[in-house]
Each structure stands twice: as structure tokens, then as C-alpha cells.
Symmetry: C2
DNA sequence: TAAAATTTGAGTCATTTTGACTCAAAACTA
DNA sequence: TAGTTTTGAGTCAAAATGACTCAAATTTTA
């Protein structure tokens, strides 16, 4: 069991930059809450919750590695992303996860222990995707990715919980400058939906009439029809004027 | 000549994370312009202009490596810094600098060529320092660091010019949220001095009376006396209320 | 030595933006 | 049909903004 993984890891390592990894905080918006894609690694009865990530191949651009990793987990290409942090403490390895587990203790051979003790520097990206367009894919040695709401996030392995926190911080900071939301919503949406998204990113409530006034004045969205609705009074439908973005460009300024 | 360098590099490499480097964009403010610290590597008659940088040792935190590099070039500790980008294209090496130079072509042995062809992923930090407190130090194999104004920057080696540009972009974005300036100015300064700094970061002029009004309303600075002056009407002296910062915390909000 | 020029500090004012509201319309509920 | 919920539209006082003018303090120059 461990042998198989170890052989796989070692074969990948040969073509990759050693001790360097990419981790992706893939964020989507669902039921009025930000969600993040988390993978579960199962080794016998031990389960590690980790962010999607991996090595960077020698002949692969860093960004291409990131896009490959996002595609592996979500199937999506041409996503909006941002490099927001690098985690690189000297003590940064899976060693703690390894040694605190009895299963690892008993069954592990030296090779696995070595790999789990290896120091990694991780370049972290956040990726914003349309929740409704995703079909999560199990990847090799991962028994299924899943969406978890970021605010009620369980403990992830190593420092991956910190990475998610840092990603949300970064998103919140970027918010006032960019039409970020266009990548987290379906192409057609209502103002209340957009407001719920902005509120969940900023982490605070916004007065509804004021939100409407401000967001419309930026000129970043256009009304494209009515209705769709389900409950109560039908809401107007809007779309971002320039569609989805794949890079963060300062175009509009607004602050809440 | 090359042998000596090669032996040095190889000895460092053994204790360091391979193919990973840290580069620092050390910024200071002088004569109404942002300046950046640049090192000159001389190998025979070939001169490379590069940003201060280096390896990360296996037992060294990433941030500690960055601080070590800044200290090597400027002598300063406890500086304000920010990780702002990672440069990691697959083609990223000094190979071009190597092959385009006749001196390298004729004299180089295989070891040097190999090192210069090695792909590096560089984690980039910007560091904000008080220009007046710096004494630039020559480091090993570097014949002297120097301050260069960022807007009339000559071509640096590899992609280091792009790194500087990216750093300035990042600084401009951070500006409205943080008392950044406190680390780029002497502890006592006049409002016109502060304004010149802010203008050089934002890259545009600001109305003087309006600047005064806004900056005072944030409450981040206090008047601590008069005069010092040199020319014309003496200006009031100010200091940042909470001194210098070593981390970027959102405390004040203002936008120009 | 007085007038001019330069730099800094202080103030005005119309316009815009903001934040906290109310109110009505359109649907569903019961 | 009355009540509830959700969305869209509007009001209004206070604050912020941008474009100004003007006076004070100093040096320059004539």
C-alpha cells in the first residue's frame, strides 16, 4: 500500500523541482457562503485533509503547474487566479501528521517516513471558480475532492488551514479594486445574490439600498432582464459588462 | 577566477534548497524619487546587474533568508517587508546572460555553464528602508551595491527589471491601506516630504491642501515641532504616531 | 532695503458621496 | 383578501471630495 504511493511519488520527484510545491485555494460560492475545495488522502485508516497541490515539473512554468492542479480537481481551465502567499518555514513538513498517527508508526517504512519529513516550500494560489460548473474529480491517491464552507472549516493537515485563512484575507483586500465576483457567480445573477457574495467576502453586512446604488454606479454590471425568480418579488437579472476575467486588473474603484 | 565562484556556489548549494532563490527589492526614498538597491556581479569584464538575492538554507525559514539577504546588503534588521510575487517560468535562468557574453563563451568551463543554466524559482520580497540609515556593503563576489532610481532603471539581468516593476505595482496597491511611508522616511519629516513620497509611489500629483487635510484626518501622524527647514517658509515637523512598523497591518483607511 | 518670488499653512465652497432611513411594488402564504 | 417576504426606488442630513483662494514666513533679487 505505502510502497505503491512511494514509488509514484519518487517517479514524479525525478522530473520535478525538489522541495517546492504549489497549493491551490479553490474558492466557489454556494448557498450564501464561500466554499473551498479540499482533498482527502487516505492511507489505510488514516485520512489527511489537504488542499489540492503538487510538484512543479522541471519543464513546466509555475503558473502552468497551478493550472494543471486546478484542472485535476475541478476540470476547469482559464480560471481567475492570484498568487497570494508563500509558506516556507524550515519546519514545514508532514512530519507531525506522520508521527502522531499510530497507523503510520506501525506500518511505515523508512522511505515513507523520509518523504513525510521532507521540508517543502509551498507557493500558494487562490482560484475563483463558478461553483455550479464544477464536477469534483477524484485524483490519484485522493479519494474524492469536496467542497467545504470556509467559515466552518475543520482542521486541515499541516498548515493548510492557515493557507485558507490567508487566501480569504487576500481576497478581502482585493475586493474593492476588482470585479472578482464575476468569476464566483453564474453569468446571470441578481443583485441580492451579488450582495450576498460581497458580504461573505468582506465578512460584514451591507445596507441593501446603498449596495445597489454603489454597485450600479461603478458601471461594471448591466441589467439584462427580469425574473428567473423562485420566491417572492422577481429580481432583475444582471451580467458583468466585460464577462469573466482571467487576470486581476484594476478597472473599477468602489469601497464599502 | 570562475573556479573560486563555482566552488563557493557549490558549497552553499549543498546546504540549501535547490533551484529556489529569494530576491529582495529594497526600496528607499531619496531626492523625491524611489530608489532600489542593485548589486553588480563582476566576472572578469562581464558585469551583471542583479537584485540582492540568494539561496534558502535547509534549516532556515524563508523569511529569515530574506532578512539575511537584506542585512547583507544594507546592514538593516527589522525592516518592513512583503512577499509580493513569485517568478517561476520554466525558462528562468541566467543562461541568456551567459551565452550572449563573449567572455563567458571563451573562458567558461562546464561547471559554470551548468550553474548559469539552472532553472530557478524566485520568491520575491519588497523591503522598505530609510535611505538615510543605509550604508551599502559589498558582499562576496559583489563589487558593491548601489542605489538606483526606479524610474530610470537600466536593464537588469534576467527578469530582475520585471521584478522591480512588479514590486512598485504592489507598493502602489498597498499604499491606501497602510502607513507604509513611515518606513521610507526619517522619523521626523514635513508634510511636503511625505506628500512627495506618496506622489512618487502613486505616480501622480496630489493637491497640496487636500493632501494635508486627508492625511491629518487619518490621525496617523502628529505634529512634533516646527522648522528644521532650509529654504523659504519653515514647515511643521511630523512623526508617525506609532513609529515604524515591521508588518503591514490595515489600520488606517484613506484613498487619494 | 524694499519688492518679488517661493514655499507652507489655513480656509472657502459647490458638488459628490455616504449612511441611515422610509416606502411601495411584486410575489407568495394562509 | 390580508399578511409576509423580498426587491426596487427614493429621501435627507452629514461627511468627504476636488478645485480653489489667500495669507504667513522665509529667501532671492533688484
Amino acid at each position: 500500500m505505502f510502497d505503491k504511493i512511494l514509488r509514484y511519488v519518487e517517479s514524479v520527484e525525478k522530473e520535478a523541482i525538489p522541495q517546492l510545491s504549489v497549493n491551490c485555494v479553490i474558492l466557489g460560492f454556494h448557498e450564501k457562503a464561500l466554499h473551498v475545495v479540499v482533498n482527502r488522502i487516505s492511507l489505510d485508516s488514516v485520512h489527511l485533509m489537504v488542499l489540492p497541490g503538487g510538484y512543479v515539473y522541471q519543464k513546466e512554468d509555475l503558473v502552468v503547474a497551478m493550472e494543471r492542479i486546478v484542472k485535476e480537481s475541478t476540470g476547469l481551465e482559464k480560471i481567475l487566479f492570484k498568487q497570494f502567499a508563500v509558506f516556507g518555514k524550515a519546519s514545514r513538513s508532514f512530519n507531525r501528521e506522520f508521527t502522531k498517527s499510530r497507523v503510520f508508526k506501525s506500518k511505515a517504512d523508512k522511505g515513507v517516513l523520509d518523504w513525510f519529513s521532507k521540508r517543502f516550500v509551498s507557493v500558494c494560489y487562490l482560484a475563483l471558480v463558478d461553483y455550479s460548473k464544477i464536477e469534483l474529480r477524484p485524483t490519484q491517491f485522493m479519494d474524492g475532492a469536496q467542497w467545504l464552507p470556509v467559515n466552518k472549516l475543520k482542521e486541515l493537515a499541516m498548515d493548510h488551514s492557515d493557507i485558507v485563512k490567508s487566501a480569504c484575507e487576500s481576497l478581502r483586500k482585493e475586493m474593492p479594486y476588482t470585479p472578482i465576483a464575476s468569476n464566483l457567480l453564474p453569468s446571470k445573477f441578481t443583485l441580492p445574490e451579488l450582495q450576498a457574495l460581497v458580504e461573505s467576502i468582506l465578512g460584514r453586512q451591507i445596507d441593501r439600498p446603498n449596495f445597489r446604488r454603489k454597485i450600479l454606479k461603478t458601471g461594471m454590471i448591466t441589467k439584462i432582464g427580469s425574473d428567473t425568480s423562485n420566491k417572492r418579488r422577481p429580481a432583475d437579472l444582471y451580467a458583468f459588462k466585460h464577462g469573466r476575467k482571467t487576470s486581476l486588473i484594476e478597472e473599477y474603484r468602489f469601497g464599502f
